[in-house]
Structure formats: structure tokens, C-alpha cells
């Protein structure tokens, strides 16, 4: 079936609360794009021009509606003075941490909020953003999450221990991380204009596999609210929020966030596969867009027919959201997934995701 809209028109329609020709597709593809254009995954994170080209060609080839961006789960360690390795070895899927910049409470005291123009991967992200801008695409910058970033700076298990034994140290670190994210947002919005920018935020350390909702309320919520409030205040209208993994017990805080921010702006909620779409629609459906959450490992390990069935089911449930739905994957699409399984997303969107 032929598409009647371009990806830009389709996304604009959803953001404006209108019905596009079919549900848009954002497969959360990063490393997979490198594989498709025969690049090492490391280049996708280390070389902005190659990264942009790979992401663009992959999107064109499949016809999905996402534009190039730069983000990775280990963000923060390099930016705050540590060291990361680029994923050039077999089995590596994203930059990985070689040295955490913080090992002790004293290190937290000494830690300086870096200048975003020079910090770690930000110059690479900025180069990709410039290419997006030149090609009239939205500019995406990373704006969280705070606790995942703090864990990348201080090492996750150490941070969990401090949350219990030395909460003041965690708050001190989180404040610096939040200050950094706000500085990053100022850097991108002042370079391109806030109306051209979209904030992306998300991380797995906030998940209830690692912390409980009380800890989320103490160590995540205030900083998330601070950053989001500032970002919306700068004029950024869209926030792509990815509560990674199982965050069902944190849902009341996300609803509280939207309420306390007056439901300003447009959020695109990209929860993990653990959170039922019906629950998301109940929480955010009146105001926000819901992104689908097809189980990521299924793309690597299941057959085309099985993945197609999962996508169809996701569409049938998500399309009921009154404020819009985007077919998506519950976390980054596995970089080594068989290419045919990504086509299942497109086939499902075209066959089962048509609006009347």
C-alpha cells in the first residue's frame, strides 16, 4: 500500500493532534543503521557524518519516520571526565564505560559541571544536530535521565549504595547532572532555536528493577521536573520521554510531573514493553502521544511472522490513544536484528495502521 504522506508530514500531523495517512513508525534504531550501511557500530557513535548518513539511509530504505539523533545509555561518564570505549568489538552495541570519573564522595565534591561545548560526546551530537538542521529535520538533544547519568558517572552499584548510606552525596551529584543537562539544552536551543529542537530523555537505572518508587520520588522526580520545566520554558515543545524497562511503579510520578507542569508541551511516551499500552493511554491519553513498545529482543530472535503479529497487536491497542500513536520498539532495536524483522514494522503500519 502506498504512503500518501512524507515522514515529516506524518509526524507533524500527529504532533498537531491530526490523523495522518497511517501510524508513523519510530523503530528506535541506532546501531542497526550502521549494520545496514556496512559500517562498524563504533562509527555510528564516533563519526558524526557517517552516523548521520547511516541513519538517514536506513530510514529512507525502510521508509520509517524517525530522523537521525545521537544518544546512548552510558551517557555521562565521558562528559564528566571519565573514559568510554567505542563499540568496535563483536557483541558491543553502544559506547561502554572504561573509567567512571567518580569513585568517592570527595570526587563528587570536586566534580565540575562540564562546558557542554567541549564535554565528551556533545560535540559529536552537535555535529549531527547541525546536519539535521541543514536538512530541515528536528534537532534532538539528550536531556536526561539524571539518575542513569549519575550512575554512569559514579558506577551503578556504588550509586545504589550511596542512595541508602549517603543520600546527600547522591543529591549533590544529581544537582550537578541536572545543571549540566540544562546547560546542554541552552546550548542546543540557542544554536538552532527552541522550535527546531526536541528533547530526548530516558534511562534504565530509574527502572523498578533497580530502585523502588519511593527512591524515584526522592532521587529522580525533583530533578526531572527541574529539567523539564526549564526545557519547556526555553520554548522546546516536544519531549520524547523513554522510561526504560519496568517503570510501572513510577507511573504516578510521571503523571504528577505532567500535572505539575500544567500538561504543557507535547510528550511522546516511549515506555518499555513491561508497561501495557492501555495503562499509558489511561494516564496520558488525553494530552500526549504514546509510542508503541514492541519487545526489543523479539526483533533479534523471533521470526518475521511472529514480529509482524507483535506489531499488529501493538497497533491495534495503541491506535486507540486519542492524542496519537507512533508504532515503536520498547527500547533500542537490537543492532544485529535480521533486517527482514524491521520490515515487519513497516508492513504492519501500512496494513494495520491506516486511519479511516
Amino acid at each position: 500500500m502506498q504512503d500518501r504522506m512524507t515522514p515529516a508530514e506524518r509526524l507533524a500531523a500527529v504532533l498537531m493532534g491530526q490523523k495522518p495517512d497511517r501510524v508513523p513508525v519510530n523503530p528506535f534504531i541506532l546501531g542497526f543503521a550502521a549494520k545496514i550501511v556496512n559500517l562498524p557500530i563504533g562509527d555510528l557513535y564516533a563519526d558524526p557524518r557517517k552516523s548521520f548518513r547511516a541513519q538517514l539511509l536506513c530510514a529512507e530504505m525502510y521508509g520509517y519516520d524517525a530522523t537521525p539523533m545521537y544518544a546512548y545509555a552510558s551517557f555521562g561518564a565521558w562528559e564528566f571526565g571519565g573514559e568510554v570505549g567505542m563499540p568496535y568489538e563483536p557483541g558491543q552495541s553502544a559506547p561502554y564505560i572504561i573509567r567512571h570519573p567518580v569513585e568517592s564522595p570527595e570526587d563528587v565534591d570536586k566534580l565540575e559541571v562540564p562546558d557542554p561545548r567541549k564535554a565528551g560526546s556533545i560535540p559529536i551530537a552537535m555535529e549531527i544536530a547541525k546536519l539535521c538542521y541543514e536538512n530541515k529535520m528536528p534537532v534532538v538533544f539528550q536531556a536526561g535521565e539524571v539518575l542513569t547519568t549519575a550512575a554512569n558517572i559514579a558506577e551503578p552499584a556504588r550509586l545504589l549504595r550511596w542512595m541508602i548510606r549517603a543520600p546527600d552525596v547522591v543529591h549533590k551529584l544529581n544537582k550537578k547532572v541536572a545543571e549540566f543537562f540544562i546547560a546542554v539544552a541552552e546550548y542546543f536551543t540557542s544554536t538552532f532555536g527552541a522550535d527546531k529542537c526536541m528533547a530526548f530523555t530516558g534511562g534504565p537505572v530509574e527502572s523498578n528493577k533497580l530502585i523502588n518508587p519511593r527512591q524515584f520520588g526522592e532521587f529522580v522526580f525533583p530533578y526531572m521536573k527541574q529539567i523539564h520545566s526549564k526545557v519547556l520554558g526555553m520554548g522546546v515543545h516536544v519531549i520524547l520521554e523513554h522510561p526504560c524497562s519496568d517503570q510501572n511503579a513510577n507511573l504516578p510520578y510521571y503523571v504528577q510531573l505532567r500535572k505539575e507542569l500544567g500538561w504543557n508541551g507535547k510528550y511522546i511516551w516511549a515506555f518499555g514493553p513491561e508497561t501495557p499500552l492501555e495503562k499509558q493511554i489511561e494516564c496520558f491519553g488525553e494530552h500526549d502521544i504514546i509510542m508503541g513498545n514492541v519487545d526489543p529482543p523479539s526483533f533479534q530472535f523471533k521470526s518475521f511472522e511472529d514480529v509482524l503479529a507483535l506489531c499488529k497487536d501493538n497497533i491495534e491497542r495503541g491506535i486507540k490513544n486519542p492524542s496519537g500513536y507512533i508504532l515503536g520498539v520498547g527500547c533500542e532495536l537490537p543492532p544485529l536484528a535480521p533486517p527482514i524483522n524491521v520490515y515487519a514494522l513497516m508492513k504492519a503500519a501500512r496494513e494495520y495502521g491506516r486511519y479511516q
Binding site: 557483541g91 553502544a94 564505560i97 558506577e155 548510606r165 528493577k209 527512591q215
Partner: protein, 198 residues
């Protein structure tokens, strides 16, 4: 190819234990591969790698919720093809839950994988203190509950009474687990652990 998981919270001695076990298995003529979350966490130096013929693979970087499981499965497949190890020792991050890592092992396709024991290291010096904390305790209990073998590490640094107290506590969390006392640092109890792995 037998896959053995060696888990434990930060500071429990996973790195020391995994290197000591690798050496011991290599000395018995076994081909050993190590999979770690973050290569920086395991200072396996070049000398040890060449002397004992170890293969070290890092699966770090991806999102811990799902990408790591996929990377783990892929890395097991790749190791089986390129190296054919007798044993693969997996050191997951200190915040990993053994059952999640088992899921990743289960995703590996077309391999003759024998699931070896899940070993959880219990910090002999600080374990009880960590367990007594409501939040941290829950986390460590989940690790212990998923273990086939719980090893009380740093046994050289604690009294016999403390070790017995640890054993009692561990039994209340996981009555089916085998409990061993070891010192990964000076090798105490390691041979018994190696026998259980083999």
C-alpha cells in the same frame, strides 16, 4: 560449553574471584572465556590473558534492560564459533539479577550450551550490614535467591562465628543453595568451588 554466572554486589570480590577461577580452570587444561559488562571493571592484564589463553569479551554499553541480554546471547554465539571454550564465566554488573542474565543465556540459539551454576558472592565483611538495609537488602536478597551456590568471600578477614552467622542468614533466603566459604584473594576454598563448576 558450560556457562557459569558469577554475580554479587559491588565490593563482593567478583573480579578477584573470576580471575582466580579462570586461572584454576586454565591450569586444568580447560579453555576459558570471560564475559564482562564493562571491560574497565576487570583488570585482566595482557600477561594473564596470554599466559592462560583466556578470551575476554565485553558486552557493556547497551541498555541494561534489554540490549545487554541480546549482546550476551550474541557474544555466546560468537565465542562458540570463534573460540569454542569449555567454560564461559560471566561477570554481570553488580546491579544485575541472576534470572535476567539467565534469560540472556537462554536467548543464544543453536549452541550446545550447558547451563552451569549461578554463583553469588556474599561479602563476608559487609554482607550482613548490606542485607540489614531495607532497600539494598531487598536487592541482595534477590541475587542470593537466584543462586545455586552462595560463596561467602573474604573468609580470611572474618571470625568463624561471623561466617556461621552469614550461613544461617543465607539459608533463610535460599535454603536450596550450596554455601561455600572462600577467599578469592588467597585461594582458600577455591578448589572446592572449581570442583562444583566442573
Amino acid at each position: 560449553m558450560k556457562v557459569v554466572q558469577i554475580a554479587g554486589f559491588l565490593g563482593s570480590g567478583k573480579t578477584t574471584a573470576i580471575i582466580a577461577l579462570s586461572r584454576s580452570l586454565a591450569e586444568k587444561g580447560k579453555k576459558v572465556a570471560i564475559i564482562v559488562n564493562e571491560i574497565g571493571d576487570v583488570p585482566v592484564d595482557a600477561k594473564v590473558v596470554s599466559e592462560y589463553g583466556l578470551k575476554v569479551r565485553d558486552i557493556g554499553g547497551g541498555c541494561i534492560c534489554c540490549e545487554l541480554l541480546v549482546s550476551l546471547a550474541y557474544t555466546l554465539e560468537e565465542l562458540a564459533r570463534s573460540y569454542s571454550p569449555d567454560y564461559v564465566l560471566i561477570e554481570p554488573s553488580g546491579v544485575s539479577i541472576p534470572s535476567s542474565v539467565k534469560d540472556g543465556i537462554g536467548l543464544a540459539k543453536g549452541l550446545n550450551v550447558e547451563k552451569g551454576p549461578v554463583i553469588v558472592l556474599f561479602d563476608g565483611e559487609r554482607g550482613q550490614e548490606q542485607l540489614s538495609d531495607e532497600d539494598l537488602g531487598k536487592f541482595i536478597k534477590r541475587q542470593i535467591a537466584g543462586a545455586d551456590i552462595v560463596t561467602i568471600n573474604k573468609i580470611d578477614a572474618i571470625e568463624d562465628g561471623a561466617a556461621r552467622s552469614h550461613e544461617g542468614l543465607i539459608r533463610t533466603i535460599n535454603p536450596n543453595a550450596k554455601i561455600l566459604r572462600i577467599s578469592a584473594k588467597n585461594g582458600l576454598g577455591l578448589e572446592e568451588l572449581v570442583k562444583l563448576i566442573i
